[in-house]
C-alpha cells in the first residue's frame, strides 16, 4: 500500500491567537506578527510572567447566548475551527450539519475544559454549592467531543489522545493510521486548548515562560509563551475523496512517533528519540531528508527543547541542513499545547498550498548549527514536502510529513 497516495486532506480550519480562521491566521503569520499581549481571560496576577497569546473567541452563528454561556472556552475554540474544516471539505449541508451521520474523531487536548474544573473546586472550597454539577460536567474532554458532535450534527467513535504537547501530531497520525488500516474512510482530526489558570501557573512555576519575547533557537532564549487555539483537518482515503468528488488539498505522506524516557520534562539532549520519529515519518513517506523544503519545528524556546531539536535536525539532514528552511511559529501564536501539533500542521499545509514559508520571528542570535536555515521573510518553498515535529512532557515525540495535492 502506497501511503503517499492513500491519506489525503480535503479541508482544514483553525482559530489561533492571530485570527479566527485559517486565512487570517496565515496572513498574520506571513506578516511576521506576534499575538503576544497581556492575558485577560484567566487570572494571572502574582505570576512571574503575565503575558501570552490569547485568542479572540469567534462568534458562534446560530447559537443562542444561553447555549454559548454553557460552552467551555475549549469548545468555543474547537467548534468554529471544526466547522471551517468541514466547510472547506464540503461535508456540511445547508444547515451547517455534517453530511455524514457517523464521523470518526481523532482529537487532542491536554487541559480539556479546565476552567470549569477550577470553578468547581473554588466553589466547593468556598462553600458555594450552586451549579456544581454544571461546572464539573463541563470539565472532561468528552464533553467538548459532545459539543462538537451536537453542534455539527454527527456521532461516532472519538479517540482523545493526551500525550502532552505532541498530542496534536499524534491525533493527525492516528487518523492516518485509521484510514490506512481501513478502520475508517474519513476522519475529522483536530486539537484544542484553552488557556487556564492551573496550566499557566504550572509553566510559570517551572520558570519556563520567557518574561520577554519568545525567541526560538536563539542563543539567549529563556522560555516559551503560552497560547491557545484549535485546528481541525478533514482526512480521507484518496478513494473516498475521489468517490465523493472532493478537492484534494494535501496529503499526509508519513507519520512517526517515539517515546523519550530521558526525563519527565526534559528531552534527551542528543535529540535521538526525535530523530527516530522523523526517520520513521520519512521512511513511511518514502522521502529523503533532501526532499523536505520546510520544517515547522516544535521550537518552544526553552533551553533544553531547542538544543535537542537542533541536534536531531543536524543529524537527520546532515549536509542538506542548509537547504531546508526551519521556523517555530510558537514565537507568533504561543505554545498551544494539545492544539500545537494540529495548528502547526495547518501552517505546514498552508505553506504547501501557497509556497510561502513562515519566517522565524524574534530570533536575532541563532544557534550556530541552525543559523543558515532559519526561515526569513520572503523565503519560498522549493521542494515537494514539509515536515512538522512536536515534542511533549513525558517524552512524546511525533513527526508528520505532508506533500502537496
Amino acid at each position: 500500500m502506497n501511503s503517499r497516495e492513500d491519506v489525503v486532506i480535503t479541508g482544514w480550519g483553525c482559530v489561533s491567537p492571530l485570527g479566527g480562521d485559517s486565512p487570517t491566521s496565515w496572513a498574520a503569520l506571513m506578516r511576521a506578527e506576534s499575538a503576544r499581549g497581556d492575558i485577560t481571560c484567566i487570572p494571572v496576577e502574582g505570576c512571574r510572567v503575565t503575558q501570552g497569546a490569547e485568542a479572540h473567541l469567534p462568534e458562534l452563528k446560530g447559537v443562542s447566548k444561553k447555549e454559548v454561556s454553557r460552552l467551555s472556552r475549549a469548545s468555543r475554540l474547537a467548534i468554529p475551527a471544526a466547522r471551517q474544516a468541514m466547510a472547506d471539505a464540503r461535508i456540511l449541508d445547508g444547515n451547517g450539519r455534517s453530511v455524514f451521520s457517523r464521523l470518526e474523531l481523532s482529537i487532542s487536548t491536554t487541559a480539556c475544559g479546565m476552567e470549569h474544573g477550577e470553578a468547581f473546586l473554588r466553589d466547593l472550597w468556598s462553600g458555594n454549592p450552586r451549579h456544581l454539577a454544571c461546572k464539573i460536567s463541563r470539565y472532561p474532554a468528552q464533553q467538548q467531543i459532545g459539543d462538537l458532535q451536537q453542534h455539527l450534527g454527527f456521532s461516532g467513535p472519538a479517540m482523545i489522545v493526551s500525550n502532552a504537547c505532541a498530542s496534536g501530531a499524534n491525533a493527525i497520525g492516528h487518523a492516518a493510521d485509521l484510514l490506512r488500516a481501513g478502520f475508517a474512510d474519513i476522519v475529522l482530526a483536530g486539537g484544542f486548548e484553552a488557556l487556564c489558570e492551573l496550566v499557566f501557573c504550572g509553566f510559570d512555576s517551572l520558570q519556563a515562560l520567557d518574561p520577554d519575547l519568545c525567541k526560538p533557537f536563539d542563543l539567549h532564549r529563556r522560555g516559551l509563551m503560552l497560547g491557545e487555539g484549535a485546528a481541525f483537518l478533514v482526512m480521507e482515503t484518496s478513494a473516498h475523496a475521489n468517490k465523493r468528488g472532493a478537492q484534494i488539498k494535501g496529503r499526509l505522506a508519513g507519520y512517526g512517533h517515539t517515546t523519550d524516557t530521558h526525563h519527565i520534562t526534559q528531552p534527551d539532549p542528543t535529540g535521538a528519540p526525535l530523530e527516530g520519529a522523523i526517520q520513521r515519518a520519512l521512511q513511511q513517506a518514502g522521502l529523503k531528508p533532501s526532499e523536505i523544503g520546510y520544517l515547522n519545528a516544535h521550537g518552544t524556546a526553552t533551553v533544553f527543547n531547542d538544543g535537542a531539536e537542533a541536534a536531531a535536525f543536524a543529524r537527520v539532514f546532515a549536509e542538506d541542513l542548509a537547504t531546508v528552511r526551519i521556523s517555530s511559529t510558537k514565537a507568533a501564536i504561543g505554545h498551544t499545547l494539545g492544539a500545537a501539533g494540529t495548528l502547526e500542521a495547518v501552517f505546514a499545509l498552508e505553506c504547501l498550498r501557497t509556497g510561502d514559508i513562515p519566517p522565524q520571528i524574534n530570533t536575532s542570535d541563532p544557534l550556530p548549527e541552525l543559523a543558515r536555515c532559519l526561515a526569513r521573510p520572503g523565503d519560498k518553498l522549493s521542494k515537494p514536502a514539509v515536515l512538522s515535529v512536536n515534542l511533549g512532557f513525558g517524552g512524546s515525540n511525533a513527526a508528520l510529513v505532508f506533500t502537496a495535492a
Partner: protein
Amino acid sequence: MKNPVSILSFGISCPGGTSPEALKDFSKWPFESVPESGGRRLHEVARINLSAEPVNRWRLKPRLRRASPLSHHLIEAIAQTLEARPDINPERVGVVGAFFFGCLEYSVRFYKGLSNDGRRFASPILFPETVVNTPLSHVVAELGIGGPVYSQVGDTSCWVSALRTACLWIENGDIDHVIVAGAEEFEPHLLAAFHSLRWFTAGHPFRIAEGAGAVLIGKKTPAAIADITRIADGYTFRTRDQARIAGIECLGEFDMSAPVMDTATSWKSQTAASLLSNRQLVNLSQGLRHDAFTASSAWNIILAARQRHYPRLIVPHWGLSQNIAAVEISRVANI
C-alpha cells in the same frame, strides 16, 4: 477492528490485591468511609494500600518516589503483564493507557496550593505530575518498554477506545504486542462531584474504587487466554434518554443470542437492566459492585477472558458521561 486479537497476559492492582481471584468477590475488598467535601456525607470507598506488599515494590524506584498513586497502580498492573510473558521483549511492546480522571490527587493539591499560597508559590515539583501522560511515561521508563505509547482520556468506555488503538497498531504492523491499561486513583473531591451529578443512586448502590488493570494483546494465536473478536465503540449520548438509544445501537452490533456480562453501575444500572431484560445476563463477581472506571473496564475484560463457562461473552462498557462501547470475548479453542 478487522481481525481478532488474542489476550496473552494480564495484570491487576485492586483494593482486593493483585490476584484475578480478587475480582470475583468484592465483599472481601477492604473499604473506608470518606466524608464528602464539607463533611456532610460519608461514602464507602475501596482504596489500595501502597505501603503493603506486593505493590510497595515501586516506592523506592527513583522515578516513582514522588509519582502519583495512579502511577503506582499502573506500573504494578503493566509489570504483571510483562512478567507473565518473559518471552516477549518489552522493547517491542507498545502501550495505550486509558484514564477518566487522571492524576487527580496531585492536580487538586497543586491547584489548592496556588489558590491558598498565591500563584507565585505554585509547586514546580507537583505540576509535571499533574500531566495526563506522566504516569505512563514513568512506567515505560521504569519497565524498559520501547514501543509506541499513547495516553487516552474519556469516560469508562475510553478503555475500549484504547483497545481499538492497540488493534490498529497491530493491524498496521507497527508493533506485534500492545498493553492496554486502565488506571484510576481516588481523590475525596470525586465524592462531591459524583453527588452533584447524581451518580450515587439509592436504587443502585456502588462503591468507588481505585486501581489498574492491563491486558497484553497480540495477533490471534492458539496460545492465548481468550480472543477479542469484535469491538463496538462510538455510541454517544448527552442525556439519559439518549443513553438508552445509544445502548440499544451498541448492543445491536452483536449476536442477540450471546450472553452479556453485567457491568453497569450508578444510573447506568437502570438503563442496562431495561435494555438487557430479554438477554442472558452474566454476573461474574459477588458482592456490592465497585467501580474504578477505566480500571474496572480492564478488570471486566480479564474476568470475561478467564471464565470457562461461555464460549462468547459480550462485555459492555457503560460510560457515565458520554459514550457506550462493548467488546466480544471469545474463548479460544484450546481451553
